[in-house]
């Protein structure tokens, strides 16, 4: 304890020994808040500015110098975004795709994650390793061949048994849902969670004569709610935000997603910044709402990838 005062200058926030300890703590605190607030402002400014632009009357959008706040709030741009292009329909399409992706991944991911974690079968380890290794394959490798597989899928969309003649799953929501329906990440994530649960409940249930699927569905699955929430959020975000793959698969304008609609809008109406910002904010809104409601699951999920990855 006697050596402590001598060491103090070394761990001080400022190297000046003339300042007293409380003063240094005070300066450190102020520095922390100054820097943190400055960064937070920079990170948040694009949201603020697009919101303000979307609420301003058209003539105030183009002003020099910057006009920070609208003189009056108008929803004109939101109305225009929804009437120029069928934004409501795009929103719905994206919602259908994202929710289907979530449901499929939660079900198949936890079902096979449970099997890999809790059931003994030949090739368990080997198959899981292959799934895991596949996560390292860059998406660009499978992009064109996946398109080929979807187009030539046997017996769907007018295709014959050999996959010729029709368009397969192209231009259908299945072409987006199926390739991502049971992602390797979902399986991996759920397996890791099932591993943390004890196995004796399973043995008890078996002695009582419970069927294997019911053991999974009624006993184990309800215990994984936090993991399901985290996985669900990330799958939803990925589905909602995806852009390139839907653009490749869907040609029919009525099937376009909100990201495709927004891109087309910003390309075709290049100077209509009011409706453009309104559209962008609508495209962000569902994820933002989800985040504010379920914030802790977001953070847990990212921390998981950081620790296990």
């Amino acid at each position: 304890m006697k050596t402590l005062p001598a060491n103090r200058p070394a761990n001080a926030l400022t190297s000046s020994p003339a300042l007293s300890y409380p003063a240094r703590v005070m300066i450190g605190k102020m520095l922390f808040y100054a820097v943190s607030i400055a960064i937070a402002v920079v990170m948040f400014l694009p949201f603020f500015w697009s919101l303000m632009t979307s609420l301003k009357p058209s003539n105030e959008i183009f002003s020099i110098p910057i006009q920070w706040l609208p003189s009056e709030v108008t929803l004109e741009h939101y109305r225009k975004a929804f009437t120029t292009v069928p934004f409501g329909l795009y929103f719905w399409n994206s919602l259908v795709l994202a929710v289907s992706g979530v449901l499929a991944n939660l079900f198949f991911g936890s079902l096979s994650g449970y099997a890999f974690a809790k059931l003994n079968f030949r090739g368990n380890k080997a198959m899981f390793r292959v799934l895991l290794a596949a996560m390292m394959i860059p998406g660009i490798v499978t992009m064109i061949p996946s398109f080929y597989v979807l187009k030539h899928f046997p017996l769907v969309g007018g295709n014959d048994l050999l996959g010729g003649g029709g368009n397969g799953f192209l231009n259908s929501f299945w072409g987006i849902i199926l390739p991502g329906a049971s992602g390797s990440f979902a399986v991996f994530f759920m397996r890791q969670f099932f591993l943390t649960l004890p196995s004796d409940m399973m043995e008890m249930a078996r002695i009582e004569g419970c069927k294997e699927f019911r053991i999974f569905w009624n006993i184990y699955l309800p215990l994984t709610k936090p993991a399901l929430a985290t996985l669900g959020i990330f799958t939803f975000q990925a589905g909602w935000n995806s852009f390139l793959w839907p653009m490749i698969i869907l040609n029919d304008p009525d099937k376009a997603t909100i990201q495709m609609g927004l891109q087309a809008f910003s390309y075709n109406y290049q100077t209509d910044y009011g409706p453009m910002m309104a559209g962008a904010l609508i495209a962000i809104l569902p994820i933002l709402v989800l985040f504010l409601l379920l914030q802790k699951y977001f953070v847990q999920g990212i921390a998981f990838t950081g620790v296990k990855g």
Partner: protein, 295 residues
């Protein structure tokens, strides 16, 4: 004993049933495509009619394709700036946001918000922010008497703009990964270092940085893989322009494959890009492994 093995067999059967949907989808949309990726690059597949074996013609053609190599140069330029900045900023943010101070949750949330936006929405918002005359960025620069450039329309600044937007979008989630990493460093390391009189910089250099190596490895690997496959932001912000300076390999593959329907040729390009990603991930692995942890 007989009944136990019967139970075991039943369990095994159920387990196979449980993993069947996943494995079927995996076979159809990962294994088959990976095998086909190589094969398609040796054909002249065009979606509509042709699919003949053409040997190494596609590879010969892309060796002399100036635009293809230009897109590689573009994406390397992007990655060389983006990846290190992404790591440095995320780490510094993580360290700053690891303080237990009042309001820290709010600050973390603010920094995390941009990662929630889709690439398209973020790019759309930034098109407006980077507007040469009425944009917020040049407006703020104007307060300091600086006349900002036409960010997205000039060859010198177009790629920098994309770097700026992608950084804004990606540092938040990497910050959270770094915070998780920082919280995994045992406190006694810092305490004993303090007793030995280590300065704040020493503690960072000899404790924090080596202890965070696995985290940095994860963040750098993910950013390299993502950066080399840049598409969305380049497509929305600049459409590859001006003069192809922001056109990326994925962008070119998309155009070649899905607009011009030269799928065989596009497959060859995709294959080369995949090899590049593999090489850079490998180099990154070696760099991260070469320095042994000091503590």
């Amino acid at each position: 004993m007989a009944s136990i093995s019967k139970l075991g067999r039943h369990q095994e059967k159920m387990a196979f049933l449980f993993i069947t949907p996943t494995m079927l989808l995996f076979a159809a949309f990962t294994i088959v495509p990976v095998v086909m990726a190589m094969f398609l690059s040796f054909t002249n597949y065009d979606v509509v009619s042709r699919m003949d074996f053409v040997g190494v013609d596609n590879y010969k053609r892309l060796a002399g394709d100036a635009l293809f190599w230009q897109t590689f140069k573009n994406v390397f330029y992007y990655s060389i700036i983006f990846v290190p900045l992404n790591i440095v900023i995320s780490l510094m943010l993580g360290m700053l946001m690891n303080f237990k101070r009042m309001g820290i949750k709010l600050f973390r949330t603010m920094n995390y918000l941009p990662t929630l936006t889709s690439a398209v929405a973020a790019a759309t918002v930034w098109i407006w922010l980077l507007h040469p005359e009425f944009g917020l960025v040049n407006g703020i620069l104007g307060y300091f008497g600086i006349i900002g450039p036409a960010w997205l329309a000039q060859t010198e600044t177009a790629m920098l703009s994309i770097i700026l937007v992608t950084l804004w979008q990606s540092v938040g989630s990497n910050m959270i990964i770094y915070i998780a990493g920082l919280q995994g460093i045992p406190e006694y390391l810092y305490e004993s270092a303090k007793l030995d009189g280590a300065t704040a910089f020493d503690r960072f250099r000899y404790i924090t940085w080596p202890q965070l190596r696995p985290t940095t490895f994860l963040v750098s690997t993910m950013s390299i893989i993502g950066a080399l496959q840049l598409f969305d932001q380049a497509f929305v912000l600049t459409q590859g322009g001006p003069g192809n300076v922001t056109k990326t390999p994925v962008y070119l593959i998309y155009q070649q494959g899905f607009n011009q329907l030269q799928m065989g040729y596009a497959s060859a390009q995709a294959f080369i890009l995949a090899i590049a990603i593999l090489i850079f991930s490998f180099i990154n692995m070696r760099i991260n492994k070469s320095e042994e942890p000091i503590v």
